[in-house]
């Protein structure tokens, strides 16, 4: 069994990665493209120096392509620490924010993936939180939004979506997970907690049962002028902010992750092609969680850092 942590690094200056093309619906392209791009970048950055470097560099590069054609060995651009495989390796010396912590609003959105174990969610929460805190060098988070699997808020008519939503997800599991988040809140590690895609009924049931109420409910609606009025009303009366987002719920399906790490044209070349192949790691790949983090400089209205970590497990077949 191998634990894998994937990361994008800061994508806010990543150009096209962070720009949603006109007319494209919400998708996980930002995550998948950013991961892929970060893998390629790491492979370039950690590529072996051109051999025979006493010659004219330009000449050598012509005959010795380093830009993506010849991959460095997996060891060179990934790292194994405490039996976790980091893809790519993370240069923690570059971690941190530019200004005082007080200037930032730091938001995390933690996606619990449908492929993962519900029992281990507390571990996922801690793992994700630790990684982000290390990356941003911060001690606490301003807003942590939990995105549970199997819930969506979709449909041409938002009324309809609100109704369907009431039967989605798994209340018991969500409430159990919430308790772990509440403890982070109580420890002062997170100032505000939030949930995503909760419709009116689901939200009402939820707040009836939890200790710490969500401060935020993130919803994705195409025409955001038509939020179902009952939801608006409930949110208003209970002091829950309705925020927008453009993420999709199943943000990292296992097929997608396998493709990202496989030997295909755009893969990272880490996984073996099949159980008989010798060209990489063997086993079943199970995506567990994804965390998106954003560091927003309040007084400037500027996003300084945004990125993703994803956790997965490779289980022997």
């Amino acid at each position: 069994m191998t634990r894998i942590v994937l990361s994008t690094g800061n994508i806010v200056t990543g150009g096209p990665l962070i720009i949603r093309k006109p007319g494209t619906p919400r998708s996980n392209l930002e995550l998948t493209n950013s991961l892929r791009s970060n893998f390629q970048a790491a492979q370039q950055d950690y590529a072996p120096s051109p051999v025979n470097s006493n010659g004219n560099g330009a000449h050598h590069r012509n005959g010795h392509p380093v830009n993506g054609k010849t991959r460095p060995t997996v060891d060179a651009w990934t790292a194994t620490e405490d039996s976790v495989l980091y893809v790519p390796r993370i240069d923690w010396t570059a971690a941190g924010l530019q200004e005082d912590r007080a200037q930032y609003e730091i938001t995390l959105k933690l996606f619990f993936l449908p492929t993962a174990s519900v029992e281990k969610r507390t571990e996922y929460i801690n793992e994700a939180l630790q990684l982000v805190m290390k990356e941003l060098r911060v001690e606490h988070i301003d807003l942590l939004i939990a995105s549970f699997p199997g819930i969506s808020f979709e449909g041409d008519c938002e009324w309809e979506a609100d109704k369907i939503n009431a039967t989605m997800g798994n209340d018991e599991e969500e409430i159990t997970t919430w308790a772990a988040l509440e403890s982070l809140y109580e420890q002062g590690k997170v100032s505000r907690l939030g949930i995503a895609e909760f419709g009116t009924e689901k939200l009402q049931r939820f707040i009836n049962r939890v200790k710490v109420w969500p401060a935020v409910n993130q919803i994705n609606i195409k025409d955001c002028c038509s939020v179902p009025p009952p939801l608006t009303k409930l949110a208003k009366s209970e002091g829950i902010e309705l925020l927008t987002h453009g993420d999709c719920t199943d943000i990292l399906p296992s097929g997608t992750l396998r493709e990202l790490l496989g030997h295909g044209a755009h893969g990272a070349g880490i996984l073996a092609d099949d159980e008989n192949a010798q060209n990489g790691l063997q086993g079943n790949l199970i995506p567990e969680w994804v965390v998106k983090y954003t560091a927003f400089v309040n007084y400037r209205g500027v996003i300084e850092n945004k990125g993703y970590f994803a956790g997965a497990e490779l289980v022997k077949a």
Partner: protein
């Protein structure tokens, strides 16, 4: 601008003698500010908008609409309103306005034209995305307050120009005859300008320095029955009041051009300006550079000026007219005569598109600079001696090639380094499309950048939309570290292109294909064997010409699907910024109506004000297809604009309003043809 300074304004011959002194003192003051503020850090992102109005006198009974010259009375009435000043509003030029509450009422300012008014929010806007929703309602409040302090037949309109400014006969109330001693205009009286000594002196000294009247010629729009060649029928070739009356006899009024001859034809135009505070000088310098290439795009997109002096023009925007209306260059500086009295040829008017880039961004390539940049070498040397870096010194040494136009004798007695009056004298009479503004003396305000090219829009909804858009794009530029650099010469060309009739749909503009930063390689700081290789070749530098291409405004705003490049469009960039920050549903919804307006104006789905006005004129029964916009047509247009404004004030939408093509101009926005009853933040009026 604080209280308008009073004093003895020097006539040009005297002013000219003291010009060098003002420049020298101005430079000393600049170095003082620079030294004090160069390390100023962490200033909050505050911003402000400025809305300018013309004031018309309109009644259903009167056959013609007139410009009201009661600016001073209106401002006095505003200043005398105790409730307004108690709530933080008022007229800073006439009274001490103190911001004492959290949401102060707006403040009003005089402008060059005596028929103009400017209004700004009572305090700057902050960086919170939510605050962007207050802009529109604040603009509506400004208009409401302005109207309340006018006579019942007076209206504040956000039209860039008054269509009948300068026509023969009566177009102002009260009437004054033209051909006064200050402007010496055939068409407008001296009383058209704000009577404060600064303004007539500005106009007179520009003319005096130039050696003739300013020459504002706009090509006529040739309609079916417009003669060709067309000779401006309002030009009087037999006037002999002033030596400058010879100008038209010497060819100042060529065929096929609407001829205008006074500063008021330019500086009497209304603009929509945005000022953004930067966190420090470096961020300010970056914003100055990065917003600069957007100038011509936003000019074309806000086009609203198709009529001059009672004629349809063949251009859609005000910019060049203002440029010419304040062009104080002598024939020598213009290159019409060999240099004798003057020091140098000067390729641009004081009012023109930017000539400098000033950022310390390593992506600023030497190829982008203006090859024709004119600077004062001795001033640059002095600034560098004073510790300023080359780029910024070059910028100010460029601004300081100009003479100060209005000099008050009293200010020349002693240099006061705690003030910035001499610096501002030059700085604020360099009207480029961006302005880089150092912190004012004796305040906590930071380095700021002003974005100046936009035309004022007819409704507050549109003005809010464009203001908000500029703020959002500035945040996206800083967040995503975008790069819009193209050579300054191409920005200049774009500025000219933006003038064409319907440039927004018919023209292409130079724009950078890839606005994104290159990936920075991982730091090579780690010293273990797995540290990234430092021998990675630097990204090869391609020729500058490959970086940009011609794009339509639609491509720039909405994205391109060309094979050559995939520029994502400014709207996508702004939306991606909004996607990445925590925005509540209502805010996002309301912001998307602003983005939709801009999207639709760029794609042509909705018309610019210029196009709507043109079509209004063309369809008016009194229009004779001869390019003439007479009193009757103007009255119809003003009446339509007043009606639109009243509906907007009442948040009633435009349903049932008998105004041609309104749905093509404003679409379904703000209630459109049938209000859905949703109350928006923007509907609130204080």
């Amino acid at each position: 601008m604080g209280l308008l300074a009073l004093g003895t304004a020097l006539d040009w011959p005297d002013a000219q003698k003291r010009a060098q002194q003002v420049r020298e003192w101005g430079i000393k003051q600049l170095l003082e500010i620079w030294n004090k503020a160069k390390h100023k850090e962490r200033d909050a992102m505050l911003w402000g908008d400025e809305v300018e109005y013309i004031v018309v006198r309109y009644s259903e009974a009167a056959p013609s609409v007139l410009l009201s010259l009661r600016q001073a009375d209106i401002l006095s009435a505003l200043a005398a309103d105790e409730e307004l000043s108690a709530k933080g509003g008022g007229v800073p030029d006439l009274q001490d306005v103190k911001v004492q509450n959290a949401n102060p009422l707006p403040v009003f300012h005089p402008e060059f034209g005596r028929f103009m008014l400017e209004a700004t929010p009572g305090k700057p806007w902050g960086s919170n995305v939510k605050e962007l929703l207050d802009v529109e309602s604040d603009m509506k409040t400004r208009r409401k307050i302005a109207k309340e302090h006018m006579e019942s037949e007076e209206y504040p309109l956000t039209l860039t120009t008054f269509p009948r400014l300068g026509v023969p006969g009566v177009f102002t109330d009260p009437y004054y005859p033209p051909s006064g001693s200050k402007l010496r205009s055939q068409f407008v009286p001296d009383e058209i300008a704000n009577p404060h000594i600064r303004f007539p002196t500005l106009a007179a000294n520009i003319r005096w320095r130039r050696g003739r009247k300013v020459q504002v010629n706009v090509p006529i729009f040739h309609d079916e029955k417009t003669p060709n060649p067309w000779k401006d029928p309002t030009v009087n070739y037999d006037l002999h009041n002033w030596p400058e009356d010879d100008d038209v006899r010497n060819g100042a009024a060529p065929d096929n051009f609407i001829h205008m001859d006074a500063m008021a034809f330019g500086m009497g135009s209304c603009c929509l300006q945005i000022t953004l505070q930067a966190k420090n000088i470096l961020e300010g310098r970056k914003m100055y550079d990065q917003l600069s290439p957007l100038g011509p795009i936003l000019l074309a997109l806000t086009a609203a000026t198709p009529i001059y002096k009672g004629f349809l023009a063949d251009t859609d925007v005000r910019w060049n007219q203002i440029s010419r209306a304040v062009d104080d260059r002598t024939p020598e500086e213009l290159g019409e005569k060999p240099l004798k009295e003057n020091q140098r040829h000067i390729p641009k008017s004081r009012y023109a598109s930017n000539s400098t880039y000033i950022s310390t961004d390593p992506r600023l390539r030497p190829e982008y600079f203006d090859p024709n940049l004119v600077i004062d070498e001795s001033i640059k040397a002095e600034l560098i001696m004073g510790g300023m870096d080359d780029l910024l010194a070059t910028h100010f040494a460029h601004l300081f090639i100009r003479d100060p136009i209005v000099i008050f004798n009293e200010d020349l007695e002693q240099l006061d380094l705690s003030k910035t009056d001499h610096f501002e004298n030059l700085q604020s009479t360099n009207w480029q499309h961006m302005r880089f503004k150092p912190p004012p003396a004796g305040s906590d305000i930071g380095w700021r950048v002003e974005f100046r090219p936009m035309e004022i829009q007819i409704t507050d909804f549109e003005n809010a939309a464009f203001s908000v858009f500029m703020v959002l794009i500035s945040r996206a530029i800083l967040s995503f570290d975008l790069n819009f650099y193209i050579p300054i010469a191409k920005v200049d060309e774009n500025m000219e292109t933006a003038h064409a009739r319907d440039a927004v749909l018919g023209e292409k503009f130079y724009f950078r294909k890839n606005p994104f930063p290159n990936r920075a390689p991982r730091s090579a700081a780690a010293s273990n064997t797995n540290s990234p290789t430092s021998s990675r070749p630097a990204t090869p530098v391609s020729p500058v010409e490959d970086e940009y291409t011609l794009m339509t405004i639609d491509e720039v705003i909405n994205g391109s699907k060309s094979e050559e490049h995939d520029f994502p469009g400014l709207i996508s960039i702004v939306e991606s910024y909004l996607d990445a920050v925590n925005v509540d549903v209502q805010t996002r919804c309301e912001l998307s109506t602003y983005l939709d307006l801009i999207r639709k104006r760029a794609s042509g789905e909705l018309w610019t004000a210029a196009k709507w006005i043109r079509n209004f004129v063309a369809k008016h029964p009194a229009y004779k297809r001869n390019s003439v916009v007479d009193d009757e047509v103007t009255k119809g247009l003003v009446s339509a604009v007043i009606n639109i404004g009243e509906r907007e004030q009442a948040s009633k939408g435009w349903k049932g309003l008998d105004v041609p093509d309104l749905e093509k101009f404003l679409g379904q926005f703000r209630g459109g043809c049938g209000s859905n009853g949703v109350k928006r933040t923007a509907d609130k009026i204080n």
